[in-house]
Symmetry: C2
Subunit: 200 residues, 2 copies
DNA sequence: CCTTTCGCGTACCATTGGTATGCGAAACTG
DNA sequence: CAGTTTCGCATACCAATGGTACGCGAAAGG
């Protein structure tokens, strides 16, 4: 790691571009923001931008990765605070609903992400940050006999999709009890998967 | 309704633009296809296009509506073939997984839709075509005591999101048993919501 | 048959993502 | 410390795209 004045300024410029890109992408969507606006907000020019990123898409990829890592860390922290593996799953899922409540997370990670990068790449990035934790938690619970033995992949995607859509809906819903109701419904769905729930 | 040569040609041109738009949007995504390509494929010019649609976005809105109505009709038909309300729900949900398997449905309706139109408008259109059926089916089952009494909105979004994500995953998954496994997991989740499942 | 309507083609414009090139200061080198 | 290289960045420019203004020619209406 270099520590000269040059390397420092370089990193500062890169961080500013990522920060302003995140702010603008969240506010106006990927297609609604031009490079001119981004570089102006960052106080640089297009020449500087293309020195740091190959394309507008590359900047979005960087922003999305940062958002996903932030959400993943928040969820993982909440889950790790629980002792019981089952409670880790429930807490992690419920935390996800609130961690993705911020508008910038919504638009970048849940709405524009799949369309801009393509679903496959978006899925791969999500897998690396948060979905992997979900799958691992499910596997542990299956191995320990808490959950009925079954393939984890379908379950992971069903739950992941359910939480994503619920988070988007909650952001625009006016009802005060919607969050609690959703948490209740989600908890009920998770509980239903248990081997001792009488289903299966 | 006029029936002259002129009105007929007009409708023909409009249908061709919608058809080619759907084909190209599905193949390359909304941002990946230009108006020039669309009008060339339809055998007309941009002048004709803007005589029928206000913008590229308006064409996409028309295409998306058509796709959603097709999926909604397919799901509703399968559900209506069942007598028992509970079986209508299960059959409808399972049919959704196969009805959205076509690549054009995936990209237009599930990936690009929310990003291009914005999540709110996309949700409103989805509500009008398929999600409304789901909500109605859930309400019937709650009223008849099959499902535990609970708010339907959170449940609708959780299930809708789960099915959307599962459909996208299934399209790219290589495993032969993935579809069956997903249907099993989805059925298990639905069954868990029943008032007599011991949960809640 | 003469006028009006209108579906559509042609020519054009503004903006956007992306590139080629030059400059000036920081970082090596003797 | 002078000379040279490196490199972060700015300027000027290009091709393509969504969108508009306007004109033509055939069908619709009297």
């Amino acid at each position: 790691m270099k520590h000269g004045v040059r390397a420092e300024q370089r990193e500062q410029t890169r961080r500013t571009l990522l920060a302003e890109g995140r702010r603008l992408f969240a506010a106006k969507g990927y297609a609604g923001v031009g490079l001119a606006e981004i570089v102006a907000a960052a106080g640089v020019t297009k020449g500087a931008f293309y020195h740091h990123f190959d394309s507008k898409l590359a900047l979005f990829r960087g922003v999305l990765t940062a958002v996903q890592e932030q959400v993943g860390a928040e969820v993982a922290a909440a889950a790790d605070a629980e002792k019981d593996p089952w409670q880790q799953l429930v807490t992690g899922c419920l935390t996800f609903l609130t961690a993705t409540a911020a508008p910038d997370v919504q638009r970048v990670m849940l709405v524009d992400g799949p369309a801009v990068l393509g679903w496959a790449e978006w899925r791969a990035l999500d897998e690396a940050s948060s979905a992997r934790h979900l799958a691992e938690a499910l596997e542990v619970l299956i191995e320990s006999g808490v959950l009925a033995r079954q393939p984890v992949a379908p379950l992971t995607h069903l739950l992941s999709g359910a939480m994503n859509e619920a988070a988007l809906w909650l952001a625009g819903s006016a009802g005060d009890s919607d969050l609690d109701d959703t948490k209740t419904a989600l908890t009920r769905m998770l509980t239903a998967l248990r081997a001792d729930s009488g289903v299966g």
